[in-house]
């Protein structure tokens, strides 16, 4: 008797029992269930929610692996143990075993805590409420470690995950019912509950926090943080030791400090292209968000060019940043590709997606520039637009309703 039959017998045994959802979650992880169609269409397409979520996870894996190397690279670089990358994306300074070890040591626990705590909450809710364990957390659990600083304490992450899953999702009824993106809810909770661990120049490089105030202190400022302080931190070519610490290529490839998985615009771009190709992610949202960000960037560049503000202004640094640089610095690319496209919290109509995405891009850069205390605008922009997505849909759908009413009027007139 094979595993398949054994599990089938167990499934029958658990049927109707309290623990059935928990067992089924494990069972359906191993085997596509033997469920057949009962009403309506007798055949169904191959895709289910697990496959959809799995596709998103696959597109995130390159970012995770890169994040591990980058954690070590930033650490060793700040300590002065290695040289900065010298030969493009495949630089040996970056892809070294030493770097990976630091990354594995620091980031795997984040992943384990994120999945462990989050899925535990999901299982508990499924058992209490008697519904199946839903797949939504598979993606959230992967996103969370990628959008926090590398040294985030594990207990903090655990608390945030519990908050995010319960308040962000389960109170609304679970996957598919939530209003705010759960992963961003978790990050926003961390951000407002423990701000010292989520911003500043000490949290982005492994080891910086514990060394703060000691003679060995290291720091690693994100490009956004630097720009917000008016430093010219990014340029065509970087020069070590000067203020210009990073080149545009560094930012594009991702050899910069930042949240674990958000730094490599290149890999995010590849992940985004994979999501678009597999028809899982909405290209409308991604494209329109990029357009929105470019539009806002151009407006700010225009203000600077028109001479409306001078370089004494505290907004000058970010406003004068070349408009397209906004796409590759900070978490903008990651947010747009992986978080804004969450189908549950985004606009649900195709027209609505254009508006929703554009506003996310537009507002992200707006927040970035005008709120130097929180230079990462994309998180707040997405959360804000999550709230407005149903409103956007409402007006899009009303357009269709009006068309129908007009047809009726023409007919009766």
């Amino acid at each position: 008797m094979g595993l398949k039959d054994k599990l089938h017998k167990l499934k029958l045994k658990y049927k109707g029992k309290k623990m059935a959802p928990a067992f089924n979650a494990i069972h359906t992880f191993l085997y596509l269930p033997n469920e057949t169609t009962h009403s309506g269409s007798h055949v169904r397409a191959a895709d289910d929610l697990k496959r959809t979520m799995n596709t998103v996870i696959m597109s995130l894996v390159p970012c995770l692996i890169f994040g591990m190397f980058n954690a070590g690279y930033q650490h060793h670089l700040a300590l002065g143990e290695i040289d900065a990358v010298s030969s493009g994306f495949l630089s040996p300074e970056f892809w070294s075993f030493d770097n990976l070890t630091v990354g594995l040591w620091k980031i795997l626990p984040l992943v384990v805590i994120s999945y462990g705590v989050g899925l535990a909450v999901e299982f508990v809710f499924a058992v209490i409420k008697g519904h199946e364990v839903e797949e939504g957390y598979l993606v959230t659990g992967m996103l969370v470690p990628l959008i926090v600083p590398v040294d985030t304490p594990l207990w903090m992450l655990a608390v945030a995950v519990v908050f995010g899953v319960v308040i962000g999702k389960e109170v609304f009824g679970g996957t598919g019912m939530n209003i705010l993106n759960p992963a961003l809810t978790i990050r926003a909770f961390l951000f407002f509950a423990y701000p010292t661990w989520m911003s500043g120049d000490k949290v982005w490089v492994h080891g910086a926090v514990e060394r703060a105030g000691t003679p060995d202190a290291i720091s690693g400022e994100t490009i956004l943080g630097g720009l917000a302080q008016g430093k010219e931190i990014i340029a065509e070519t970087a020069s070590r030791g000067s203020e210009v610490a990073y080149s545009v290529a560094d930012a594009f490839y991702g050899f910069v400090p930042g949240s674990v998985g958000e730094t490599s615009a290149l890999l995010i771009l590849l992940g985004g292209l994979f999501l678009i190709f597999s028809k899982i992610g909405s290209w409308r949202i991604m494209v329109s968000a990029v357009l929105g960000a470019l539009a806002m960037g151009l407006i700010f560049n225009g203000i600077v060019d028109a001479g409306w503000i001078d370089n004494g202004s505290k907004f000058y640094g970010l406003m004068s940043t070349e408009f397209w640089h906004h796409l590759i610095i900070g978490g903008f690319a990651f947010g747009v590709v992986f978080m804004a496209t969450d189908p549950v919290t985004a606009s649900q109509t195709n027209k609505g997606k254009w508006i929703y995405g554009f506003l996310i891009g537009f507002i992200s850069i707006l927040i970035r520039v005008f709120n130097p205390a929180y230079p990462e605008g994309v998180m707040l922009a997405i959360l804000l637009m999550n709230v407005f997505a149903p409103t956007i849909d409402h007006y899009v759908v009303q357009g269709n309703v009006k068309k129908r009413m007009k047809r009726l009027k023409l007919k009766t007139a």
């Binding site: 398949k4 599990l7 089938h8 359906t28 992880f29 191993l30 085997y31 596509l32 269930p33 033997n34 469920e35 057949t36 169609t37 009962h38 009403s39 309506g40 269409s41 007798h42 055949v43 169904r44 397409a45 191959a46 895709d47 289910d48 929610l49 697990k50 496959r51 959809t52 799995n54 596709t55 199946e132 839903e134 797949e135 939504g136 009824g173 679970g174 996957t175 598919g176 190709f277 597999s278 028809k279 899982i280 909405s282 189908p343 549950v344 985004a346 649900q348 109509t349 195709n350 997606k353 849909d393 759908v397 269709n400 309703v401 068309k403 129908r404 009413m405 047809r407 009726l408 007919k411």
Partner: protein, 451 residues
Amino acid sequence: MSKDIRIRKGLDIKLVGEAEKTTVEATRSNVFAIKPDDFHGIIPKVIAKQGTEVKAGEPLFHSKSNEKMLFPSPVSGEIVEIVRGAKRKILAFKILADKEQQYVDFGAKDVNAMSGEEIKAHLLSSGCWPFVKQRPYDVIANPDVAPKAIFISGYATAPLSTDKDYVLAGKENELQAAVTALSKLTEGQVHISVGKNSNSPLTGLNNSTLHKVSGPHPAGNASVQIAKIDPINKGEVVWVVSPQDLVVIGELFLTGKFNAERTIALAGASVKNARYYKTKIGAEVSSVVYHSGVHDEANIRVISGDVLTGENVRPDGHLGYYHDSITVIPEGDDYEFFGWNKPIFNKISPSRALTFSWLFPNKKYNLNTNTNGEHRAFVVTGSYENVFPLDIYPLQLLKACMVNDLDAMEQLGMYEVAPEDFALTEFVCVSKQPHQQIIREGLDLMLKEIG
């Protein structure tokens, strides 16, 4: 006047087991069954009690709400059983067919000389009225309300469905008589649609407007054609008749007989000899299925109708009243190891999430009845719109139905749809929601509350 209709959104589901274009006589079916459930929303009142002898065309029951609406026996014979279910609900009338069929003589008529009222009365009394269905609500037409137009779709796009051009060949006279009769029941026009390159006998009919349709499924669905030709507004009614039913109606006028004969396609991957059969409404499906033979008899689903909208009738079931095909496909009652994440080559998928049906657009698939996943809340958006050509927001309409929001249903276009229009959205649904059932229940609620 001809108008071309071209549909872009949709999906042709290509399955193995298409019926070969040869027609054979089915084994004679002993028992025929008429299931009142086939006539959605009709509550039957028995006319012919158990044990009585009926002729073909003699009424078995009438509608509780309209006793003029008669439902006839397809054959002559003895009513051997009236099958009842819970609360004594009538599930089926079973008629043991005579060897020599006898028909009620309704008298041959000259349709050109008849008035609309006479035609309507004749259709009702002969039991041909149930063939006329109406939109909104997708139920048997209310004879007291005149439709603004009548639609006949001669273009079948559903997977493995009957080729209408083939089964209608040679029926020009019957079709013409029926179309002429129907044209007197409406102020508007009788719209007939056929495939773009069709040589259907429907093309040359008088008293009608011809439309040429092209595009993927659901281009052949009446709702899609109605939306393109003359969309339904609130308060308007259109009628829909399927072409093989027209033949029965036409024959009634020409010969005075109610002849329930139709040519059906026997198709599907589990069938050994997929081809066309001549049989009658209500016949035992086994008379067709076992005449052809099936693969892996223990593991089949026998569907009266096509795979998207048909009814699971089991091998001992009967051909449905409105169906013109029988499809037999393998059941999918089995587990698949890591079926949710491994690359899939043998199933159809609208996405490319490690599913590779996009690489082989012309490959024919052998799909079974597995749902390929569990029921979930709606998560993915935008996938339904790609297979849904109507100017309606499918997800929003489904949600309105689920929360019984009558206002929203009305505003979002509920009057324009039938459950069959949601077969494709149901097929591609990642959350495996029962779309057709949701829409059916929504329509029922509207019919009850708004009427």
